[in-house]
Symmetry: C2
Subunit: 516 residues, 2 copies
């Protein structure tokens, strides 16, 4: 691998798997240019009957061969059956060197580790949560994995950087033409937007459903005109696990405090009462608490948001139902209230990574968003953020929409200052997921740090009772509690690259030498 | 021009304006292949504020130059202001040789004839209804016009055959990001699907609205992520003229009889009572009457259609509201009831030419459709249909969705046998718009002819009381009434080519030598 230094001083490869890549040059340095991938021109006459007997027949019809790239979406989250089902069949056929390109994998997909070890799967281009990430850290993949944000994945597919041979799209509801959505059926999961790019640009698209409905299945989050085959199976997932994010507000006083600080920051900086207020917050205890506190403050001030962005949760749905926001713009449902609301409430709108997150568009929702509240595993004195690896070096998380949502006007990181006896504020992050120039505020239980680049925010907060601190102070407080933790030991080998949303390489993950 | 003979024996050019084209080879002979046009890769960072002062500023920002291709949609029909507004400004700037690529033009655009004569407009790729068609017939365009169906236009744009430099999209409702629909505002026109391809593939996209709403404008028939600029003007059209199709059922006993025969045919052939019944019928007196008769027959038989396809009209909306169809799949609204229903009824669904009509998809709705009822200017003994020129040689109509909708399981032409003392059934059509292999039934007041290719339909109609006749008999009856009309005189020069939906050339239109 030939390496070059990027704008953050990280050494990154100039080429990945034979494809030339550019080093990260700044959050908004990329100005586009070139042509998107067009995709193949099909002919309608060849698509008279798309219903096909079973997954095996679909694999035959798609002529899947060694080395091909196979994709999946992750709206069924830890309840997904489809990835394992299809990959086991491909393994049984003796296929090798497949590139797996899911939008994300979860602990339920742990058995893929064997397929990585045996060479069925060469590597993964996609988010890896948990055991697959561990296997990647240990150098078990033949080639470097590629980590992308949700918007970055859409971009890579539309630009032709990630060519998908066959996309399998689990669909809670579909018709025989291939129109599909996630709103109806026993496996209803809400939006299907993570599969949109796959449907538009993959050579072959297989919709797999456990709920076949008469034509037309509407809304068609996935349009039949992009679908080759439709397979009906007994079940695409475990409904109880499909929406498996943290769905309860944290009870930890520390975390409640962090959420409260974050909401108060939005108010005291005057952002909440400006025109066109909007915010994004995900699942997880702190985020849910933030949504609740934010809602309380908005109610007191008589503020109605233009929109809030999900992943949708019960607390967002309550805001919509109570008139605190005009719309929810929803990329994925984290709980069943989110699914129900998306199905029944016309102001709860399904989005996809193209409209929300894709940097190679003529603008996307992320840059319209006022406030984005995000988590992190590490943040450093330059405000660079790591969400992929932990300080102990293990690759355990995908990027999700982090780098995309960080394009909001005010991006806030909420995190406890110390987690598992490791400081969250560090001198230099182990892995850079997002550059410090995108991060405006860090909220911990020991204080709130504002990026010095945002003097405007600091000015607005003069006289605030929030515990404002410099990030260096937070670092010192953390160090006093934990001492300097031992550094992980890495081998030379690059096991994963972290691609920024514009396609440039922002960092690498190196093989971890596990400590005894 | 070098000519080749196509599968229907028509001599057609092998090249149009420097682009190699294939001769028509059969309705389903094209099997796809090659890559779609990808479109340019933009960068979101360049799109912070899309609102621009006025049309002039948009023209400046788009850097419109001589020879560029400029596009518009026609959902505002004869009430459209935008084509004239923009083209006048381009003419004032002294621009020349522009290619105009509207989805259709109407009589209100008659003043473009001057711009054609003066060289501002080189030629038109798009449908021309009325005066512009006449100008084309008289050879006033510098280059041959290209006529395409709605689906064929989408295909040409996605495949890169029709490259649009700048698309101006009139939007009855839009936000500052460029999200737009046709449902709200004083100029509400219903769907905006004819502009979808333009928005996806044009280099520059300008949304022009007279009703700016707060973000997010939803549904986003046009997605802001594809839009460069948003311009607010006083008015994009005359609401009274926007939905200007024939909105009254014919009172002519002859035409009522034709409509009744058509509906009875659908019933007596057993199509109405088969599973998954659906039909399409447009505006115009006979079509409206057909919809009404069809509804009556369905009501009597207790039949509920899976869907009916518009252009939507009051009569279709009544069917939906009375439970005679599960859905309306609507490509354009022909009257205000259509607009209202699309806005308010969740079972009235907006479609676009990609999902409905595009042959270069993995299947589209046209081929799912059971019955399609269409008009024609001529039909010949081989069942070839002409909808573009009249028997007197004048080019007066676009193709609309004719060639696309003709892919239905049963395509029926309804027409009076004689119109303006010219027979509709002729030996050979003046211009072939659609090949006879797609046409199954011709319904006139003097009888119903079934294409001999459809022996299955003839078998089903054994014992029917419908006046079944061979098409040759209809031809004889017509001739007895009109005598053999004088043939138009054409010059050698090709003034327009008729492109089939797959991109092949099915026929040409030659310059007309007007008779004194």
């Amino acid at each position: 691998m030939k390496f070059v230094k990027n704008a953050l001083g990280r050494m990154v490869p100039a080429e990945i798997d034979g494809r030339a890549v550019r080093p990260f040059a700044g959050a908004h340095a990329d100005l586009g240019g070139g042509k998107r991938y067009g995709g193949m021109i099909p002919a309608a006459a060849k698509y008279q009957n798309k219903l096909i007997k079973d997954i095996d027949a679909a694999i035959d019809a798609c002529e899947i061969k060694d080395g091909m790239t196979i994709s999946f979406h992750h709206h069924l989250r830890n309840g997904d059956y489809l990835v394992n089902l299809v990959m086991e069949k491909l393994a049984q056929r003796g296929l090798r060197d497949l590139v797996l390109a899911p939008s994300a994998l979860f602990p339920t997909h742990g058995k893929l580790v064997e397929m990585i070890e045996s060479g069925v799967i060469s590597h993964i281009e996609g988010s890896m949560n948990g055991p697959i990430g561990k296997a990647c850290s240990l150098g078990k993949m033949k080639k470097a994995a590629v980590l992308r944000s949700h918007g970055g994945r859409y971009r890579a597919i539309q630009d032709g950087d990630l060519h998908i041979d066959v996309a399998f799209i689990g669909a809670p509801s579909a018709d025989s033409h291939g129109n599909a959505n996630g709103l109806q059926g026993k496996s209803a999961c809400g939006p299907l937007g993570f599969a949109l790019a796959d449907s538009l640009f993959a050579d072959k698209v297989v919709v797999v459903t456990d709920h076949l409905v008469p034509f037309p299945c509407y809304p068609w989050s996935i349009e039949g005109g992009n679908v080759d085959f439709v397979v009906v199976v007994d079940s695409i997932g475990d409904p109880a696990q499909i929406v498996s994010g943290t769905t309860q507000i944290t009870r930890s006083p520390t975390r409640l405090l962090i959420a409260e600080y974050a909401a108060r920051f939005v108010k005291e900086a005057g952002i909440m009462t400006e025109a066109n207020f909007s915010f994004q917050a995900g699942a997880g205890g702190v985020s849910l608490a933030f949504v609740k506190y934010m809602g309380d403050l908005m109610r007191q001030a008589g503020v109605v948001a233009d929109f809030v962005r999900g992943g949708s949760t019960r607390y967002m749905v309550e805001m919509l139902e109570q008139g605190l926001t005009r719309y929810i713009l929803d990329g994925q449902s984290f709980d069943l209230d989110g699914v129900r609301s998306l199905r029944d409430n016309p102001c709860h709108i399904e989005t996809n990574p193209f409209v929300s997150y894709d940097y190679h568009t003529k603008g996307c929702f992320a840059q319209i968003l006022k406030v984005s509240v995000l988590g992190a595993t590490e943040i450093d004195l330059d405000y660079n953020v790591n969400v992929n690896t932990h300080s102990d070096g293990w690759l355990l998380h995908g990027i999700g929409g982090f780098t995309d949502a960080a394009d909001a006007h005010c991006t806030m990181i909420t995190a406890p200052l110390v987690r598992s006896r490791l400081p969250i504020v560090v001198d230099q992050v182990t892995t850079v997921t997002a550059p410090g120039e995108m991060i405006d505020v860090v909220v911990t239980e020991y204080g709130v740090a504002v990026n010095p680049r945002r003097q405007d925010l600091l000015d607005r907060l003069r006289g605030s009772s929030l515990p404002l601190r410099r990030i260096e102070e937070l670092r010192q407080i953390a160090l006093r509690m934990t001492g300097e933790p031992e550094k992980p030991q890495f081998a030379e080998r690059v096991v994963a690259v972290v691609e920024f949303r514009d396609g440039t390489i922002i960092d690498t993950v190196r093989e971890l030498i596990p400590q005894a």
